[in-house]
């Protein structure tokens, strides 16, 4: 609480329901980190499921993993890592007042995110073309361990792709905020929080990639 805000003056009656404006960048960042903890635990629970089933079906997991396309997985890893770099550069550029460069870097980040999703959709599409999707006939004929591997593969990469989409929307919003000059270089809270989220999305993929593509 900041006692020097209009809050403690009599004309506070005109303020709707008590929200004197005071900027504390730490509050927003702390809220974001707590939110990221929940994301880590969300994926963490899935990693636990993965670990347990890997222990139960070691050979079948390895067999199923061989059918994933390592090249697309590796390519997507490079794409996401690069997008994290461009986003970090965008924040740095904006903090130094280089608006145009920042917008350019953000556009690059968006393009890389889109590329990631395109590669991903080709991968899923190839699996669907081989009649490999959650409730397909081919799926039901696979050994149980391979079924659960693909179940986790679709669930975890799907949830991750959902996060990429949400991150992309958030980046678009930040671009709009910069374009309309709604955020200033000394008030980077929203921008930095979107950056944190994007790095988390990146980080999750760094674990997904070896666990699904490289164990075979």
């Amino acid at each position: 609480m900041n006692p020097t805000t209009p809050a403690s003056t009599p004309n506070a009656q005109s303020i709707p329901a008590g929200h004197a404006e005071h900027y504390d960048p730490v509050i927003g960042r702390m809220g974001m980190w707590l939110f990221l903890f929940t994301e880590v635990l969300l994926f963490g629970a899935l990693f636990i499921v993965y670990a347990v089933y890997l222990g139960m079906h070691r050979w079948e997991f390895q067999e199923a993993s061989r059918h994933l396309d390592k090249l697309s997985g590796a390519g997507n890893t490079v794409i996401l890592l690069t997008s994290s770099l461009t986003l970090a550069l965008a924040i740095g550029a904006f903090a130094r007042g280089k608006r145009g460069l920042s917008l350019g870097m953000l556009a690059g980040t968006l393009a890389l995110a889109a590329l990631f999703l395109i590669v991903k959709s080709f991968e899923w599409g190839a699996k669907f073309a081989h009649d490999l999707y959650p409730n397909s006939a081919t799926m039901h004929e696979l050994p149980p361990g391979e079924q659960v591997f693909y179940g986790l593969y679709f669930t975890m990469t799907g949830l991750h792709a959902l996060h990429v989409i949400v991150g992309g929307v958030a980046i678009t919003v930040v671009m709009w905020l910069i374009w309309t000059r709604k955020i200033r270089p000394d008030r980077l809270g929203v921008f930095e929080n979107v950056g944190l989220f994007w790095h988390l999305v990146d980080l999750v993929w760094i674990f997904l990639f070896p666990l699904f593509y490289l164990i075979g």
């Binding site: 609480m1 329901a17 707590l34 939110f35 969300l42 963490g44 499921v49 089933y53 659960v148 591997f149």
Partner: protein, 538 residues
Amino acid sequence: MTTAAIGLSPSLPNYLDARRGILSWLLTTDHKRIGIMYLMVMMVFFAFATTMALLFRLELLSPGEQFMGSDLYNRLLTLHGVAMIFLFVIPGIPAVFGNFFLPIMIGAEDVAFPRLNLFSWYCFVLGAILALGSVMLGGPDTGWTFYVPYSAKTSHNVLVPMGAAFILGWSSILTGLNFITTVHRMRAKKMGWFQMPLFVWSLYSTGWIQVLATPVIGITLALVLLERLLGVPIFDPARGGDPILYQHLFWIYSHPAVYVMILPAMGVVSEIIPTFSRKTIFGYKLIAFSSIAIAGIGSLVWAHHMFTSGMSDVARVVFSFLTFFVAVPSGVKVFNWLATMYKGSIHLGPPMLWALTFIFLFTIGGLTGLINASLSLDIHIHDTSFVVAHFHYTMFGGGGVIFFAALHYWWPKMFGRMYKLKPAYVAIGVFFVGFNLTYFPLFVAGMLGMPRRYADYLPEYTIYHRLSTIGSWVMVSALLIMFINLFHSLFKGARAEHNPWGGATLEWQTPTPPPVLNFDGEPDLSRGAYEYPTKVEA
């Protein structure tokens, strides 16, 4: 003490009068109004869940089918559990009293994220409507635990209530996130961590459990939904899955969740007992740290729900040990409360009597918890009505009773009206009798082998079920007396004083009801949260 602090000249309109109209409530970001809105919807859900329990308790009056089939019984039982747990006990004290009093107690104007706070309320209401609306769609019959494989296969509608639990999880996470940030960043400048009231400490620990445990249940329910909707193989053993894993994931959240239910209640007790004993709290730091300890150890005991599910002996021994261990910080609290009362100048007002009821009932609940934690005994009483009695003693005798205590303690501050004392005392007395009559026979029946959740029973258990059903009527009469008394005071009650109980925490410094921005001036922090005048004012 300034004139404003004793309320002689409230210079600002209070939060109830400041703005009028339904939209001024539905779009408010004032933490006090949000707390009141939680209270209002929650009372409806509580009445709903209580009614369902009354109905199936009536069915159990005599052996054999009375007036409802086992299918309807299962659905009522499930919804009673879902509504009571997800809509009343888990969110109850944090969402209502935490929202209202956390910022005031630390001298802040509001929580850290006021709009997020309102959003949590809408999540809560949406989730609640879905959960209760699922009754119209046939209603789930899985029990509130949604165990697979049954929940993935049953023909009853479980999609809607599971989706509801997912949304309610969001509400819970956002509230926890908000409170943690508020405690870290919004405290009055002179208030250090160890000047905070203990209720704030308990909300802080609770916030961490909500943030760290809830995502696990969220994703687990989502996995079951994926399995049901799209046939994604996750828990189906025929397709490589493991249903026991579901139970682990479920309890990784749901056991810590019982501490979400009980920790804030313990915080309220730590406020009420010193106030009504006119004596500073005994062992402030131990109580504060025991909240953190409960949150920490409580996250590592989940598998004691699964002693008969199939686990290695090592795992069972470890979880049994940790379960005994988590009783230590709870015991620390109970003894600290008793030591606080020792040689105090005890005033037995309604909040204090509710708090003492809590200590009595919760001690029974806690000690029977140790029986459940013992591996060999648990094999005998697992899934019997002994467990039902145990968790009603802890959850209802704990979280529920303290919800009522908090209502009586803070009611005058929240609404500016004082309820009548005599009906309040009567309600407590009748409740105490009714509660024990309802749940104690279930301990005995459980020891004798009565399984939980069954719609019917053998004639030899008749006496226990009959006592329990009669007890439920007594208990509901007490609740009716209590709520009518409180409701009546809203319109006919005398104007409340600013500090009717002589409390020392900051909410008693501000006018009644509090102004929009919580304080007329700057709150006076020179007096500690548990410093009472040595002379007793009559």
